[in-house]
């Protein structure tokens, strides 16, 4: 993917941006701006137990919700392409509703709307010694169900990208539909699914912050409560931003590794025979062309 911007113009823009950032930081160090860096460094290097729990919860909820989303997405995609009409209709309704409404509305409706009219109450369940409070259970499930609607379209695109000759060949070999999907089509579809899936997980890591409205103490909510006590919004939310960047950047590297592993045995990948370089993995696809990789 070649960038339409001239390389030197983009380089100058980046340089200007860096200089501005440095200038702002320096001016912020003057006594007029009331910044207390200690809160920032403490949040990063000596996080409170509550903050550690918040970060852990963000990661766990993201992973579980994404897995749930992928499973639901695969089934919804296959149902959407099924010959049996009720499957198609059900899948279309599911995708339409959960892609057509904001996640916040879904959370308020399912977590507070349903129980208030007595239709459904979210239980607190116990996995052995671990207790999962109702709001975390509800929030994770709704995140996963919401994600499934988006994954359905991504998985469908992946399945459609596999040469129909593959399905014909498996049928002629006597494979059943389930076997064809599991052993032939989905593994090949995976290469097309992984980049947007990676994008979705990147989004999921940040979207968990919306669970603050149902009082889940993930990273954002924990930061918000702490800042409400000492009013150090600049330092604490700055640190929260760094934590989110850390999580999404590490995921970026993992995603690149997965893409390269799946690309083994093929000549062409999105950014070169060995996959995206460090610039591509760090800053995304456009940056690939900046370094003349």
């Amino acid at each position: 993917m070649t960038s339409s911007l001239s390389s030197s113009r983009t380089r100058r823009a980046l340089l200007a941006g860096c200089l501005m950032f440095v200038a702002l930081s320096v001016s912020g160090c003057s006594s007029r701006a009331d910044i207390q860096p200690q809160f920032f460094w403490d949040s990063l290097f000596h996080p409170s137990p509550a903050l550690v729990n918040g970060i852990g919860l963000t990661l766990i909820i993201s992973v579980i919700a994404q897995i749930l989303g992928v499973i639901l997405g695969v089934f919804a995609a296959m149902a959407k392409m099924a010959k049996f009409a009720p499957f198609r209709i059900a899948s279309n309704l599911y995708i339409w509703f959960f892609r057509g409404t904001p996640l916040l509305v879904q959370l308020m409706f399912f977590v507070y709307g349903l129980p208030t009219v007595g239709l459904f109450r979210w239980p607190t369940i116990a996995f052995g010694p671990i207790l999962i409070p109702a709001e975390i259970l509800a929030g994770t499930i709704i995140l996963g169900v919401n994600e499934g609607a988006y994954m359905a379209e991504i998985v469908r695109a992946g399945i459609l990208s596999v040469d129909p000759g593959q399905t014909e060949a498996s049928k002629s070999l006597g494979m059943k539909y389930g076997q064809t999907m599991r052993r032939i089509v989905l593994p090949q579809a995976a290469r097309v699914i992984v980049p947007p899936l990676g994008n979705e997980f990147n989004n999921m890591l940040k979207t968990t912050s919306l669970l603050t409205v149902v009082s889940v103490f993930e990273l954002y909510n924990t930061t918000s409560v702490a800042a409400g006590h000492n009013f150090r919004y600049f330092e604490l939310f700055g640190a929260a931003a760094v934590w989110y960047l850390l999580m999404t950047t590490i995921w970026g590297f993992i995603q690149g590794w997965i893409e390269r592993r799946l690309a083994k045995g093929t000549v062409l990948t999105s950014a070169g025979p060995t996959g995206p370089g460090w610039r591509g993995r760090f800053f995304g696809g456009q940056a690939e062309s900046l370094g003349g990789h």
Binding site: Y112, P133, S215, S224, V225, A227, G228, Y233
Partner: protein, 294 residues
Amino acid sequence: MRVIPSRFRFAGVFAAAALVAATVLIAGCSGSSYSLVKSGTLTVCSDTSYPPQESLDSSNKAVGSDIDLGAEIAKRMNLTLAVKSTVFDSIIPALQGSSCDIIISAQTITKDRLAAVDMIPYFAAGQSFVVLKGNPNKVNSIDDLCGKAVAAEKGTIEADHIAGTGSGYDNTNSLDANCKTKGKAAITLQVFDADTSALAAMQAGTVVAHFTDEPVAGYEVVQGGSKFELVPAMTLERGAEGISVLKTNNSLRDAVKKALLDMIGDGTYTKILTTWGVQSGAVTAADVNATPAP
């Protein structure tokens, strides 16, 4: 771009600088003795999810006992009132960021807040529990809260009281500590950006009680028809609430204080509170003049 001769450029820059300096000087030495966010207007930050003290009516206009007090203060200062609905948890930063001149939002006077702003006592309220009608979870004493979940608004003294956070509570006098010393399970605190969301959580059954200010609790019970009830024996700790002003804005603080004292003196203050049914929270002139103690 045409090249401007250097002598004209210098003159232009000098004129612009002089104009800026003049504007700053004039604004700084203006006739009115205090600086306002918007001249001629008293801009008040308030968390309008807190009826009867402050809320929004069906046309999204701010109404409530605090709003009426604000309007009266503004009138006596010859200003018009403008209310800015602000999330309670970030209301002091809003004041510090010059979104408004003062905060009237049922803020209990605490050491945390006094460290950041000046507060003028103007009201007093206890902390009360709202439960579902019939008290199905049998919340009759603070011990009954042990092992259960309670909802409060983020950044309020009620949230601090349960968890032992903030400057007024710690792990000796919080409700959670009370459970621990009696060997019972901890209280789970759920917090929400708006007080009305905390009430919704109680309606949905994720918590057993909604912990909020006494006048608000009373109002919720009345407005909820037969859905809610107050736990009267459990109203705790009446504390003073204050109007927040920036520490650097002494003249504004004094003007607001004077208006408030005049209102108490001629009975307007009591009349406003009685209109909203919150006269039990009235304070005296002596309270207003006292140095705020958290």
